[in-house]
Structures are given as C-alpha cells and as structure tokens.
Amino acid sequence: MRGGSLWQLGQSITRRLAQSDKKPLSPRRYFASGADLKKTALYDFHVAHGGKMVPFAGWSMPIQYKDSIIDSTVNCRVNGSLFDVAHMCGLSLKGKDCVPFLETLVVADVAGLAPGTGSLTVFTNEKGGAIDDSVITKVTDEHIYLVVNAGCRDKDLAHIEEHMKAFKSKGGDVSWHIHDERSLLALQGPLAAPVLQHLTKEDLSKLYFGQFQILDINGSTCFLTRTGYTGEDGFEISVPSEHAVDLAKAILEKSEGKVRLTGLGARDSLRLEAGLCLYGNDMEQHITPVEAGLTWAIGKRRRADGGFLGADVILKQLQDGPTIRRVGFFSSGPPARSHSEVHDENGNKIGEITSGGFSPNLKKNVAMGYVKSGQHKNGTKVKILVRGKPYEGNITKMPFVATKYYKPS
C-alpha cells in the first residue's frame, strides 16, 4: 500500500483536515514530535479513553477513539457526541464601541443582533475574500463573544489587533480578552439537551438555536451557545479549563454511555453531511462569502451600507451574481476528494471539489465544491475525476442530512 508508510497514511487524514493552516508544507508540521504540540485540558482524558492522538493545527487532538469513525458519526445523530474543541480560540471584545468596531471586520449585522443571540459570520479581507469564519455572539451591547478556528488563530488575532489599534487611535473604546483560561466543548445530537439539563438549573428549553447564556453548569460558570458544527441540536460550552475534565465526565455519565467522546474524523464527516464549510478547504482567502453561499450571513443593512473590508467587491457580487458558486454533489465510485476536477457531461471542466468523503449516515459519497455560475443548478449531471478516471455525479442541495436546529415552532 502506498500513501507513504502506514503511519504516514494515518497522517494524511490530518493533512486533509488541517488544510485550514495554509502555511507551506514542512515536514516539521506534520511529523512534529509530541513535545512540540499543544495539549488541551482533556489530553490525558482522551488517551485514557482510547483516543488516537494526531497533530492538528499545532495541537495534539483525538482523531477517533475505540469506535470507528463511521460508527462514531452515526452515533452522533442517533444519540450524541462530545467533542473537545478547546484548540479553537474564544475571545471577548468589550467596550462601548465593540459593536461598530467588529462591524468593520465582519459581514454580520452585529448592531441588529438581540442581546444573547449570535450567528455565523465571515471575517473579510480587502478583496472580499474570507480570512476566517466565526460564530459571534452579542452578549450585551458592550460585550461580544466570538470563536475562531484553531488553524487561523494567529492570523485572526493579528488582524483584529491591527485594526483595534487603528480604531482606538481614533478614540474608539474597545478592548479584548482571549479566553485561554477556558476550554470549549461541543455537545451535539438528540441527547445533548436532555443530558445537559441534568447539569444545570436553567431551563434549556428556552434557549434556542443561536442563543447564548452565561450560567452555572456542573458547578462552574460557563458560556453556553446553542450552536454547533454537525447540523444536530446541540451546544458549545466554554468552561474554565480546570473544570473541563469534570464536565466531560459528568456529561458522559449522565448519558449512561450513549453520548460518546467523538474525534475530529467523525466531526469532519458530520459537518460535511451538514453542508458546512471547512475553512481552508471550502473557504479560503480568495473566496467571498457570496461565492460560498453565505449571502444569508451578510446583514441586510450591511448589503446596503457596506462598511466592512472588501465591501465593494461583495456588494458588486450581490448585484451581478458571483462567477462561481459552492454546491453539493452526490457521486458514484470512489469518494470525490479535495481538488478533484468537476466536468460537465461533455468533458469540459466546470469546477473543482473542495471537500468530499463517504457519508456514514447516508451511506453514499457526498462532496462540495465550486462550479461556474450557470452550471450550478440542482440536478445538473457532472463527471468527477478521481485518479484520472471520470465518475458519474450530480449537483444536489445541501445540507445532505437535514438539520435539526432547535428553533421556536
């Protein structure tokens, strides 16, 4: 077998998942010794539970545990999953002007968010391309909590800091705090709410998708957001790091083993099934939120007023339509992977796959990628090239697996 030695083969998993960190490939990055990698508060806990640890964005993270990635992915949607996502970077922006400040950097209508609600947004560059995607929450008018990708941490923080300095030099009141004292856990699936309810007195049935609360969970003050990266109902819980292991244990115990510790391998399958972008694969510096199908995330007022980096490019795309669009694919044969070419039925190249794999819940291949506008309609028959051979496919809407977000009826 070749993909390198078998050990290196295992690394190819993380090679694909770690694309978010777009530094040039260097041997050190992928084959770094354990000593070079950062560890989350749950590292020993993962190892004790049979976690297979791999390097990811400079951290040692579990790619899977004793159960297979397929079983783990299915279990999330049937029961539930607990993910350690403490490698991601949580931060708070504070001050009288934190809202107008953030609006210079993201496409969201931050001012229009009700306190205690949040949304997925995109940090843009001068060309309208995506620097990163992020879930932002307006806690109050003077406090915004946001989470950014682990692989983009240095880039994002440098970007925010640079703009914050300029903003403050003009008299703006904004400051930040990076929550390195906290660990982020993600609890997803049908059992997420019932299990978490055992650990808090607050009525979780009143916390809807996209909403946020600061509350006591299992004896410590946590930031709770009803959101996730799987399409299931669930939460992201920011807990003081010294209580992270206890919280993880409590969640697993309360679920009587039905909620399982779940690794990055299954996490990637789940988000793919949910049609969600992975920054570094499906969204990059040169792709705009309009092209990525995230126009819904650009606030209505922002579409009229702009005021964020690259607004001129994005507003023009909103008017004229983008030249490429992100779409979903089903295909036969081997799973389509990142960089596979997409051809029309006559063999002309019309696009490229940016993420793909086998869907454990649908038991078929799913993929997403970009095609020329005009060729993007659902049902369009395509040919996807895998290892030089064309395989039949068709464009389809996303999510591939219906979402189950908890929304008011």
Binding site: M1, L6, R16, I69, S269, P335
Partner: protein, 166 residues
Amino acid sequence: MALRMWASSTANALKLSSSASKSHLLPAFSISRCFSSVLEGLKYANSHEWVKHEGSVATIGISDHAQDHLGEVVFVELPEEKSSVSKEKNFGAVESVKATSEIISPISGEVIEVNTKLADSPGLINSSPYEEGWMIKVKPSNPAELESLMGPKEYTKFCEEEDAAH
C-alpha cells in the same frame, strides 16, 4: 471446542494464527493496533500486501495491520480480469473514510480473478483481511519473486519496528 479456544488465545498472544482454523479464530480476535494478526503460510511485502501461493495461483490482499491503520474501507478500485500486474507497481486503490491508499502488487503476473464481493462490501477488507477480503488472484509470471518477500515472523517484526519508529 475448548481446544480451539485455547489455540486461539495462544495464537493471539503469539500474534500468529494457523490458516487451517482461521475462519473460527477470527471472531475470537480483537483486532487492535497492538495485536494485529499475521497469518502463517503467507508471504508479505513491506508495503503491507500478503500473497498466498497455491500451485499456479497466487491470491493477494492487504494485511490485518494495514486495514487497522487504514480504518474503515468504503471503496476499493481493482484491475480487470486478464490485465497484468507487476511487482512493486500499483494495481488499485483502497479508500477509507478519510484517505486513499494505492495497493502495490508484490508479484508480477496475469489477473485471473477479481473479488467482486468487494464492490458491495468493501468492509470485508476490515473484517476479514486474509479470507473474504482477498482482492485479486494472479497467475505468477515469475515465481522466484516470492522468495524476496517476508515470512510471517519477519513481517511481524517489520510492523513492530515501523510502529515504534513513530
């Protein structure tokens, strides 16, 4: 029955199993990274394929160690019957949930049969890498090539060294 179970637990400890009672032993094995089974009576390539030479037919597949590292197989690409394979050249690919790996032929020859069950059940490679997960049957063009392959003990050591190096 008792004798078979004793044999299986001993074989498990020694990391070897006898192909004669293989089909009864497999369920008794827990296929984990430390205890991948290496079958007696087969030859192994350092790219983790095995060859079973019986008369004029050589059957080829990938080892338990390989399938364990690869993870769940979701698709297998195999050559057609009557095509030829060459020693150390790739003849197909195995797709797992997250990665693709080429399969390298340990010997040269003509493909006389392909395991069509793998089209619908690629997971056979994981559950039965030495039996139901066989991939191709080849008429060897140069039986001497088998001499340069590893025996079970050598291959076991090779795997341990490879794993330890990481």
